[in-house]
Symmetry: C2
Subunit: 349 residues, 2 copies
């Protein structure tokens, strides 16, 4: 539906494996001082000096994690990088380098990989990340992307999932549920397109949530903002699998309970109207939706004044003693136990 | 053929994504001082202090890089780690951590993943590597493994591909071509098995080359030996794609030429006899075979006495001025230009 059928097609075997890597990575410049050697040897060499090294890795598979019938390849490249950077920022660290491995079947021409790498390059440019390695190979079916992101942080800055204490405030950046509702819109348009390929979908009323799905932004700005506000979170995680699942990770790792207030969950008006249209419960979407790549963190109550009223973050609850459990406090003031209903690629838990 | 059809089968969806990762990684202990935080947060945290950080990544895909009809899963896990560690050793560095992402279709039961992780665990134990992260997800078809390996080295120890000088000696560890000939044997037995599934293959005459294919060992010992001998290679690469392709990488990166002497290429007697049996030229197999995971390096002539007669390494040639080009000097003293005929997953270059 968004795919251009008339594009140029250059078969990948014309370049060979080394020629292909060289071609795709030729326009990536090295900008980080910590990158001593990027692409072009058996391994990259980095120098984080007295900082700690942060490492995270993630694999995305066509047909499982993305659908190329509505995900343009440039967006896919950008989003794949965001998903990894988000994990680095969730450590309260600075993301610095990525290594990218891509496997594609012969249905993809060179131009498709160029689009994918254009998205990766844009992400690297905006977030000041060096591409330092990777691998390009063939697959038997579809496209696979595996990215490892590296970062750096002073030891004292690093925030784990395990530091939350009872009475800490629970805070989330941005708003939640948009990426999931954007996916619903795109899935619906795909079905419409299957029935009538001449339909031109009007996605403009949904532009915010579609963009949340197709072009999420990792919250580097929140990490920087917290430093500026002199707020050191006690625990942090990124919201990739839905709010509920992430809160339970914080609770489990920190051995605390939690009260999450339904009325405090930040929802964009477009999310609310899309939920009405799709007859979905917006709270459930926020709790279970996933792919928002916002940051969820806890702060000591003494830091309340520093973040109060800040439009970039919302206090949505507070941590409790572990024995009290993790609950959603509804608008009707009922307490419902939180359960992990985040997205699970192997099926429902 | 080597697959046990009567194995227990536990469906992956019974555990869910987080349960699965916990289950598979529960027996991995952290042994490196540089690992501050391994699995269990958004990212791992490492501390290489005043050493440089080495990073390399590699992706293996069923049907492209491995064939489960003769590759037992435990061996596959081990080999996948070796392929990555080999790249770290090729920097003359110490391998310290790996992150492993695995995607499998629902044809694989839990027990298959346990076997794969048993091989990964064995590699980690023998090579003193910490598993610090990763991802387990579902695929639409087959099995995919993406590994990122990390290492550390003092800056002065690191050996790039680019340091070879004219008149440096060209040295290779171990012997070459075994992994490729082992693959030929296994491929032949697979065809025999297809015709008559009751055949029991007798692989004992081929045990060395089959083991080279199924259970290669990254040459950590060579890096340690070179340190002990006080030999700092001027350039180094690992032999994953065949000798010819790797020599050309050294030549290109170092801007030198090379004379490789056919009669010096170390071949195991089993490789020679298998080549006779398969009517293949053993020199061509060594030049183009791949997957040997030996180290290929250049040393200054002044270091000749330090390695002379060492059974772990063979001097196979010397570097020349770039203008002289890269050549194979045959037994008949003819000079043939070296061409990259290494394995290319997108087809022949």
């Amino acid at each position: 539906m968004l795919e251009d059928k008339n594009q140029e097609r250059t078969a990948l075997e014309q370049l060979g494996e080394f020629g292909l890597i060289d071609h795709l990575t030729q326009n990536f410049a090295i900008s980080r001082k910590s990158t001593l050697k990027g692409i072009g040897d058996d391994a990259a060499v980095l120098d984080f000096k007295d900082k700690k090294t942060i490492v995270t890795t993630d694999m995305l598979i066509e047909g499982v994690h993305f659908d190329l019938s509505y995900m343009p390849l440039k967006h896919l490249g950008y989003k794949a990088v965001m998903a990894n950077l988000s994990d680095v920022y969730a450590m309260n660290a600075t993301a610095t380098q990525i290594a990218v491995s891509v496997a594609v079947s012969n249905r993809f021409p060179l131009e498709a990989l160029e689009e994918l790498y254009a998205g990766i390059a844009l992400a690297c440019q905006i977030f000041k990340i060096d591409l330092i390695g990777g691998d390009t190979t063939s697959s038997t079916t579809g496209m696979l992307i595996s990215i490892t992101a590296l970062g750096e942080a002073d030891e004292a800055e690093i925030v784990y999932r395990s530091g939350a204490k009872p009475n800490d405030l629970l805070v989330v950046s941005g708003d939640i549920g948009g990426a999931y509702m954007g996916l619903q819109v795109l899935e619906r348009e795909k079905e419409v397109f299957k029935v009538n390929p001449n339909t031109q979908p009007d996605l403009s009323p949904y532009s915010y949530i579609v963009e949340r799905q197709l072009k999420p932004e990792a919250r580097k700005d929140i990490v920087e903002l917290l430093k500026k506000l002199e707020v050191q979170p006690t625990a942090m995680i990124d919201v990739s699998d839905g709010l509920s699942s992430e809160i339970l990770h914080l609770c489990k790792n920190s051995a605390v309970g939690c009260n999450l207030f339904e009325e405090k969950i930040p929802l964009d008006p477009t999310v609310i109207s899309a939920c009405e249209e799709f007859k979905m419960d917006s709270t459930l979407v926020a709790l279970s939706g996933g792919e928002d790549y916002e940051l969820l963190f806890t702060i000591d109550q003494k830091d309340f004044d520093k973040i109060k009223g800040n439009p970039n973050m919302t206090i949505i609850g507070h941590m409790t003693e572990e024995s009290e459990g993790a609950h959603l406090v509804t608008r009707g003031n009922t307490k419902i136990p939180l359960t992990a209903q985040g997205w699970n690629s192997f099926g429902k838990e």
